[in-house]
């Protein structure tokens, strides 16, 4: 448990001596119980802000009321900045007293601005302070790093101040993210900036894709949301297969790299049993074998690039040199038809030249165009694919079928196969073309 702070003025439990806000605090017995315990308390943080502004005094009042009644009291609305249609989550209180007026009037408008973070979520302390100062001037002071879509969430301001705050930070390089039926803020992992497992330039992919669709982000007009996420390797730290309509994941297609000297050193350090149980035995396709001389044999043709052995033996094993990306489409959570994961749409593509990157952007453009034309209202890409079938989708966006897209072929015979010969010929021609 937390010990008594050595320097109480520089501590997560600090409370300013002087109260600058004019409104007295509401009683918050339930929230107060979240001030104890070792984890830094957001309630203490809210109270510090409430020492400074009345909006937070009343926000604490409404939050305590929610804790008591176990109900939420915010409703949406329409607030935006000049020139944009989205990017702000408007919140108006629904908690009215007997007189029909807001019970907590200073927090009756409590809007959030969603702001796009830099690719990889990098900041300098100077920039964090600058953003915090701007928000302290125009909003409650409360910032979440980051929301589940990846935005910096500037939580709590009035309709009028959304514009002032946006104008200020927009001048020094920050832009609103997505909210509503539009292209949403993207996410990318730390990737090549600090991770040896990175197989792609996540940073470049993220910015190239998302920044190509600024009109579709700032002026929501799609059937529903559309998310890009970029992970540098199949560990998928950005959760893109589950959570992105368009997931770009780094991978490689040549042999993985094995430093046999390091393998031997690792076996020497951890023992043969450990390596057999935790590396060889955990390979999902039995593609590994420990040789009698403590070197590692790899069946690269059957390696599915799952990353497990590379995660365990970080120094001895690494991805190959012929790097590129896989693209999966259609991941989303429950609403409305149940969960869908992304499906492989592009098994592998190189991202070396400008033309390669243009091709990726073109695939994204075709996908969003097709989505805009064909999805029903409030239908995600994954649901649209489920409804029309993967083949219709692929034909719509001009991508050829590939056996990497499936777990196994059709099991039901209830299907018409009229053009079988034509389709088989297409496959043969593609194969001949690939063979040169």
């Amino acid at each position: 448990m937390a010990e008594k702070p050595k320097n109480p003025d520089k501590h997560s439990t600090y409370m300013p001596k002087e109260k600058k806000s004019s409104k007295p605090f509401h009683n918050t017995p339930m929230l107060d119980q979240l001030e104890s315990g070792p984890w830094p308390s957001f309630v203490t943080g809210l109270k510090r802000m409430a020492m400074d502004n009345n909006m937070m005094v009343d926000l604490l009042g409404q939050l305590e009321h929610s804790y008591k009644t176990r109900l939420g009291y915010w409703k949406g609305g329409t607030v935006s900045v000049f020139g944009y249609g989205g990017g702000i989550i408007p919140r108006f209180t629904e908690l009215m007293g007997a007189d029909g007026k807001a019970m907590f009037p200073e927090a009756k408008e409590f809007h959030t601005l969603r702001v796009q973070p830099p690719a990889g979520n990098h900041y300098t302390t100077d920039m964090l302070r600058q953003l915090s100062n701007s928000w302290d001037k125009y909003g409650s002071g409360l910032i979440a790093f980051h929301g589940q879509t990846g935005n910096i969430m500037f939580i709590g301001t009035t309709s009028e101040n959304t514009q002032h705050f946006f104008d200020e930070i927009n001048e020094y390089g920050w832009d609103l993210g997505g909210a509503g039926p539009c292209v949403r803020t993207g996410m990318s992992c730390v990737g090549a900036a600090r991770c040896e497992q990175s197989c792609a330039n996540e940073h470049k992919i993220h910015r190239l894709l998302v920044n190509n669709f600024m009109d579709d982000m700032h002026r929501p007009a799609l059937p529903y949301k559309f998310k890009f996420k970029v992970s540098g390797c199949p560990n998928d730290c950005m959760n893109s297969i589950h959570r992105a309509d368009f997931a770009v994941i780094g991978t490689w297609r040549d042999d993985m790299k094995v430093d046999q000297k390091e393998v031997k050193a690792y076996v020497g350090r951890k023992g043969r049993k450990y390596v057999i149980d935790n590396v060889v035995g955990r390979c999902p396709t039995n593609a590994l074998s420990l040789n009698d001389d403590d070197t590692l044999a790899v069946d690269n043709r059957n390696c599915v690039r799952c990353m497990h052995c590379i995660n365990v033996m970080t120094k001895a094993l690494s991805p190959g040199d012929d790097k590129g990306v896989s693209v999966l489409m259609g991941g989303k959570r429950t609403l409305k038809i149940g969960d869908t994961m992304g499906t492989v749409v592009v098994p592998f593509m190189k991202l070396d030249t400008d033309e390669d990157y243009e091709k990726l952007v073109e695939i994204a453009e075709n996908t969003i165009d097709f989505f805009a034309e064909n999805a029903l209202e409030h239908e995600r890409t994954g649901e649209m694919i489920e409804r029309i079938g993967l083949v219709n989708f692929l034909e719509g966006v001009g991508i050829d079928v590939d056996p990497n897209m499936i777990n196994f072929p059709r099991t039901s015979s209830y299907v018409r196969l009229d053009d079988w010969d034509v389709e088989a010929e297409k496959w043969n021609q593609r194969k001949a073309k690939a063979a040169g």
């Binding site: 997560s12 919140r91 796009q116 690719a119 730290c237 935790n278 799952c306 038809i337």
Partner: protein, 361 residues
Amino acid sequence: MAEQAKAAPRPPIESGCPDGFQYMHPLMIKNFGNWAYHDRPRPGVLHHVAKNGDEIWTVRVGTQRQLGPYEINLLCDIIDQFGEGYVRFTIRSNMEIMVSNADKVEPLIQAFNDAGYPVGGTGNSVTMISHTQGWLHCDIPGTDASGVVKALMDELYEEFTHERMPNRVHITTSCCQINCGGQGDIAINVQHTKPPKINHDLVANVCERPTVVARCPVAAIRPAIVNGKPSLEVDEKKCICCGACFPPCPPMQINDPEHTKLAIWVGGKHSNARSKPSFHKLVAAGIPNNPPRWPEAAAIVKNILRVYQEDALEWERVGDWVERIGWPRFFELTELPFTKYHIDNWTGSRYTLNASTHIRF
């Protein structure tokens, strides 16, 4: 129009996602795409070595995610004094502070700990719980998010600062069944148990009725005239209490102080490591939504973690572990009841049934 008398509004600069290189640690710029390997000298610290021999250390710090000016300046003061002025955030709201010298690591950790911030969340620890907005800001929440996370992280503090789980544990929370918190090794999500209560006086004015009808996953909503007004009615036998009608139609209140419960799900995994990515599966429900510390939900999570820690093999995520030992053993070891509600009946659910004689006795 008073607005027109003012200066013309400022047009936005549509700059989009900012370039991260302007805020990136110089060693990360220098070695972009040229890292060789990494190790973890201690919980909460990553050590990456570049192909040219350059080294960078990362200290991972747990935060309350919702930060104010005091916290931001306090954390930045520490980073400026003991670090090198560069910071990034992980997807689970942990701060990562990069330094170019091993000697800076311990003083940096000490400074964070002295300020009440835990260092950890790496490797096979229980890292920060991913959370949503809840009562603080959401328009449809069944519970709070920050409060659940704070209460649980207090309980799991030692698991954040140590690496003593079989593999990493990602816990998520969600305040409604849309499940913004995402998939988790363990997920604590709102589960409604009663159909929406409809305020028929408001529906006609507030809701676009065809949209609401279309939103229902089981076609349980139909237009109706109630008390002489156009409204909507719900076939309560068909209704699955998912709450999908509530966002487009707030007069269809789904949240209820008693009947909005919590459910716990396990075995979600985003990574492709070993097995393919998986969804989490229902293990416990009917758990009271009990602020401010949700003790019943916390007890079940801690129990699942204890059994996982005792029974799973190294490198097994929660889902990998249950896959190996089988679901009957999971319910036996955790002493959670197995009910008819665990058997899925949604579209495609036949693939979740055991069509084999693979049974552990």
